[in-house]
Amino acid sequence: MARIGVFVCHCGENIGRTVDCAKVAELCGQVPGVVHSVDYKYMCSDPGQQMVKAAIAEKGLTGVVVAACSPHMHEKTFRRATAGGGLNPFLCEMANVREHCSWIHEDRDAATVKAVDITKTIVEKVKRNVPLSTIRIPVTRRALVIGGGIAGIQAALDIADGGREVILVEKDPSIGGHMSQLSETFPTLDCSQCILTPRMVEVYQHPRIKLYSYSEVESVEGYIGNFKVKIRRKARSIDEDKCNGCGACTKTCPNKKIPSEFDCGLGKRTAIYVPFPQAVPNLPTIDRAKCLLFMNRAKGRPDTCKKCAEACSKEAIDFDQVDRFVTEDVGAIVVATGYQLYTIGKDQAKPNIKGYGEYGYGTIPDVIDGLQFERLASASGPTSGKIQRPSDGKEPKRIVFLQCIGSRDPQKGMDYCSKICCMYVAKHTMLYHHKVHDGQATVFYMDIRAAGKGYDEFSRRAIEEEGARYIRGRVSKMWRDGDVIKIQGFDTLAGEPIEMDADMVVLATAMRPQPGIDSLAQKLSVSYDQHGFINEAHPKLRPVETNTAGVYVAGACQAPRDIPDAVAMASATASKVLGLFANEMLEREPTVARVDESSCAGCFHCERVCAYGAVEHKEIKDRAGNVLRVIAYVNPGVCQGCGTCQATCPSKSVELAGFTDEQIWSEIQALGV
């Protein structure tokens, strides 16, 4: 028989003013099973908590109900007090008679009746509470970082420097990401590669970082502390152990006209290539779609060429290499897959994105995007840092920058602000003016968003000191007239249409998540928004966690981010990961589901509705080892306690601890007349 103690709190006047607390205590005392029912001015005070502890000992209570404020306020307090009294803390529940009663009603009689109802409901629940204990699960103290851009590099280094092993997976042949393509960075105009390259080398040389470049995550199983990650190591066609990175192979490759991804199509590369001189690892990769030998193989013809293999003194070229798979056990995962730029072309992957017909859908050769401009401005770029337009190599004297292309444009692109464009366009005008002294940079903008340390000063400098002409307005139309680009737009400050000629136009196109982010997110069971950006667990308070425990997010795959933001997020994920790895075991709330093995029919409706993949198949065998039935098993380490499985289970064969059917049934019963 239950022996329940009820403790009604006045909360000073907060509850007592509208609820007759003494009466609540008296009426609840008459409920079968209640052996102790009192009211007190401040239950959460030390003397109040002592009352709970004392009553547990004196009355031999089997459950505690505190009728006071919201459980979100003081459940932890009273569960601790209950534990202090020698009772399992989960045998204590709160009846919310403050937020849900005294504060929202004025009629004292009605509020008192309601407070009694609320408390009786919880009394019935507590009668059916059972002692629960915190779940402990082991933690594999190694981390996986997906993406080798600046965010991934920072996260990997921070975690590795914190003493834990890191697996870093990069889909491209080299780490470095977009930052390695940039010329100089705002607002300090320091050389991007100069600050990035040492970090890349550090990753390569770090004893606790294992780098898988040219690799992708194939599948992820498991849960926080216990992930099993299968990684596809794409065939590079190079024996990584033999290659010494001499580069002889790339010099002999006959196919030299392939647009270089690193130079955004403005430069060329060979079919066997190292994407850029500072690449890490410094290993060539054969682009099988462009290599003569593989193109012949695809057509069923005999192997030809092999010039690279002939040039290689180490016999490191392996035309027969295939994709390999490795499996790594990790306890935490950092997603840092970065971004891509919006293309204004006609064909778009998503129907809501339409491209820009008024700008010729990107068919005018001297209309380029911001990353292409970075390559033009970069000393290591295809023009060695000279500003030359792609069509004829002339130095543009009139350059026009258009901001918000695809950003803040729900009609044709995305409704969000890409955050970095205002700053990099200001930087571009400066770089341009530094290199083309008699040139004029003009910027069409909607607003200038320069919130950040030194940012506004920087953009003001571009305008006021470096002479960039800023026009507030949009360009409505652009076309090619001979070798000039005609621009028609509107100056919203002057209130008049503008027509001007330009030699080159740079579009500050929107930042979007990398393609394939959705399938990666699904593998990781993390949610993403309509644009494909990974959702953080809480926009304010858990900005680098995802809704899947043990999976964290850094950089531009979560939202448009500049370098300092991405690095800060990366370090934040590292601190979260290191915090998780501080203990060998992980403690979890015991509010998890459990399957009744005797009645489970194995229909696995629960598995279908579980957002966490917590439901596993379990075989019930007889003594001879024959499988009798296959039933559901909820992995308590993965279960987050939503209870959707229980509501879905047709035979009610799964119970969520703390919210069992019996408990809910009794609560409803307690409200009966």
Binding site: S599, A601, K652, S653
Partner: protein
Amino acid sequence: MTELRELARRLLSEGTVNAVLGWEEGPRGARPAFVTTPDGADRLIFDPRCVHDLASYLSPRRPHLKKLGKVAVVLKPCDARAVAGLIRETQIPRENVVLVGVRCGGVLADPESTAPLSETTVADRCRGCPDREAKLADHVVGTAGAGFPGPSRRAQKIEELAAMPVDRRWDFWQAELSKCVRCHACRQVCPLCFCERCMADKSLPRWIESSPHARGNIAWHITRAMHLAGRCVDCGECERVCPEGIPLGLITRKIAQVVSDRYDFRPSDDPAVPAPVGTYRMDDPQEFIL
């Protein structure tokens, strides 16, 4: 029929299966048959009186049939939908059963009926049924009539009920549901009511009162309908077996309509198609939610 018998004989004599579940001539019309010897195959029949959904016998919760080992089962297209449900819900491994589809152009309402199959005698559920043969089957035999056009009478009845004022609809259903004696025949015969222990038999807590009073009855029938939402294959067995003649098909069909209208789902015999309950779309309609 010869084709069916020959196939059954071959499956049994070659040892592919230990039993063939089909139909035979019983004392009162067609009835389920369990043929365990090649010679027994001559007992098998298929004609419009073969209304029974034999998929019900495949449930693993029938230990006395599990002993038969691997079986072949003869299926109408509607029965195949039930088998697909059992496979989808991991009740039977596909490879453990041989499925023999019979082409079907509709069946009668009653296995005892002697009337020829016609527009007037066809089972109401067959009106508008688009399926003539089971795509899921390993073997398909026989020939099918053209089927019968919809709409079914019960579709009209559902519309009629939907047009009633809500309290008159309540009266209609109370008159029907109060007849229920909670024998649970509807559950026992349903191919997709395969729970190890039915929720209605669970006593702690007892969500569904076991007494056959109106309150327990409505709780039971709401539960049954909810559990069959998106799963009911319209084999019609529940309504056929109800000893009190409650029009249970109206409820299951109404829910099927809701599922079809809201989630564009119609049960098929493709086990790979996920059921609509247990999945979701982010943009599911939610006009009723404030």
